[in-house]
Chain length 464, copies 2
Amino acid sequence: MPISQHDIASPNVETAPVPVDICADRLKDLKTAIDTQDVDTAREVLRELHYADKAELLNLLDEEGRQELTAMIADSFDKDILPELSTEAALDVVETLGPDKSAEVLTQLETDDAIHVMGELSPETQQDILNVAPAVLREELEEGLSYPEQSAGRLMNKRLICVPEFWSVGQTLGYLRERTDLPENFYVIYITDPKFHPVGRVTLAKVTQSQLDVSIASIMEEDSYAVQTTTDETDVAFQFWKYGLVETPVVNAQGRLVGTITVDDVVDVIHREDEKDLLQAGGVMSQDIQLGVPETLKQRFPWLFINLLTAVLASFVIGLFEHTIDQLVVLAVLMPIIVSMGSNAGTQSVTVTIRALATRQLKPSSYLAAIRKEVVVGLFNGLGFAVIMGVCAYVIYHDARLSIVFALATIITLGIVGLFGALIPLILHRLKVDPAVSSTVFMTTVSDVFGFLIFLGLATLVMM
Amino acid sequence: MPISQHDIASPNVETAPVPVDICADRLKDLKTAIDTQDVDTAREVLRELHYADKAELLNLLDEEGRQELTAMIADSFDKDILPELSTEAALDVVETLGPDKSAEVLTQLETDDAIHVMGELSPETQQDILNVAPAVLREELEEGLSYPEQSAGRLMNKRLICVPEFWSVGQTLGYLRERTDLPENFYVIYITDPKFHPVGRVTLAKVTQSQLDVSIASIMEEDSYAVQTTTDETDVAFQFWKYGLVETPVVNAQGRLVGTITVDDVVDVIHREDEKDLLQAGGVMSQDIQLGVPETLKQRFPWLFINLLTAVLASFVIGLFEHTIDQLVVLAVLMPIIVSMGSNAGTQSVTVTIRALATRQLKPSSYLAAIRKEVVVGLFNGLGFAVIMGVCAYVIYHDARLSIVFALATIITLGIVGLFGALIPLILHRLKVDPAVSSTVFMTTVSDVFGFLIFLGLATLVMM
């Protein structure tokens, strides 16, 4: 596990700040050093930093700055920076380093990190690196890249510790001391049978706390957390979270132990997922805050454009009732209330359904019950608000028919958005589309179109 | 780290399902067993389950079911279930177990887990347990509860491994083998000076890979990741994620090592945070999918009611321009488009700002720049859409003044929501209110009110 000299909080000072401001403070110095091609200063700025902070600085620079800085520090490039870079930064750095140097750096990384970096590159750049990579690395990378994106195979480290069942604790500790090709850090020792099928595991802590003559088999726990190389990374993350795992074995289709996934990789997955969900729901990207205005516009405009189409559709529905509104302008005053209630109630249903899918609380057998519940909740909420809103409308406008239309529209709209609020994520999930990303657009369309249609339609029927 | 017999995926089968459906499948059997007071069947259902799954089953039962089941299995209650329970379930279970049995179970837990459980209980129940708890436990719990909620002090485990600088690897390993009061799992050994200030750390993996006569000081890394007992848990989680930590020391105000936080606790924090953010943004709760209709209504109604007030405010704004709309009903057709664009652009700004605050990319020194950027992006986006929407409106309605009003309103609205989209989360953050929870309400109010006000106001000025 990475530990550096980086001065975050000297333990004997009164306050221990978290490492918040390091990068921004040094970015300016670094930019000056790059502009003046001052290699010594650049090195000085980076010298005491943790590799995650170095990577953040590279992420914060623009393309040109990244390329210049990489060229300046290429001969002593810190390998651990690579896996921490954003996709764009990784591309710039690898292209500047060139295939030979990149392959050299990748060789020093653990398998999962090297594969992660390769996954960020274009197929051409990948091929350039594979062409010059040493045979062992090439094989590892090609195997890693052969697993589906976001699968356990991409996350796993191929270097792991496994010992046979008949060994003692003393033998195991002796083996650890002698071997020099072990991973940098590990928490678990796997016990495998002669065919390399995992039969159990024991934590390193337990090994060190046991007497030397005790057999490994007697302190191991039967292993039941193995994931397949093809398991989706979000399923892996869920398993780590639910069972509080620190490390889990990965087996291939034949059940042979082929790798191990550690919790630090999973923390990255969780963060990536949440970031993706949150930001894609608004059509913005993780790096947004660091982008310039033109890049930001390029990111955000398309999402707003899709929304414009939705809004135009809603507007078209209103247009159908232009005549009704012309006769009864109060409808224009009240209609946004119905749509707003529908949109919020729909968001509630969508949010609950997405979350229940993500936390595995919702399975195919309970889809129907979930949909029914959302409709019923929608209708009851609708009933409650129909009374409140109907009475208020009557007090203000003294028009019984208007109040009844307003109240009825509320009930029906909330029922319909409840139905679609459950249906949309479930259908997207079935179609293997991430519901967190695209449910919002569909839900907005439904609540806008139906909200206006029901209220104005009812008004036309009853009041015209 | 918890490992059980739980049969998730036998490693030598072709497919390794993740543990998705276990609980729902067994819930029915369990309910029947509870209804018939069939203790043997209840035990049978629970027997081979991981404690996280047992806890999930308890979470899924209603209050009565939880109490009955707890009473049925009280004499062999699995201690590890407690920290995994939801707040309501923990309360029901602890009340059923009674103070004496609860204190007995808490004694067997690690400090952080025991404190977490206590934190879920009411002050009265806490006091009942403290009154009967053994002195050591009482002291630990009282100390733990004295730290602010969601601080590192609440997360830390007080049992940790630390050795003096002058020890050798052999001495250290001997010490681990002899001690019996060590934590169940640990990944790091801390090295402290005589005053108990941490001076360094070494991973257990590195200790086991070093020769026995090597001194601990020569393989340790200087420790610079210490957090204070008062550090906020989200700051701790950020540090774990950014630096890929597995364990971090916790020091008190005097810089003395008082505890250690492990990554599994942090994974829980990350999950809690994300769940909270996602769900509170929609006014719904994590357990929603499992609630009955009446409880669900109780959860969701208040959020919709707040939204109703917002919508009424927007409706009031439209009402001010009733006369204008009466003369020009096309305004009612077009106005939802402006508001919808404003609402979506505002959401983008809010999302980006909240995320930048959460990932520590936005610091007070760059607040002004962030606000300026959102306004500029809003105005440019507005300009783009003004052209598109203005031209379309002209093509449809052949009314130059209407098209100009429509276009101008778009630009101004998107500029204003950009301003508030950055301002609202920043102000809430300054006021120490979680911006992820309450920004949405304010943003909706702003985009609704200003959207209608600007479009209808401009129309009244220019066209009436």
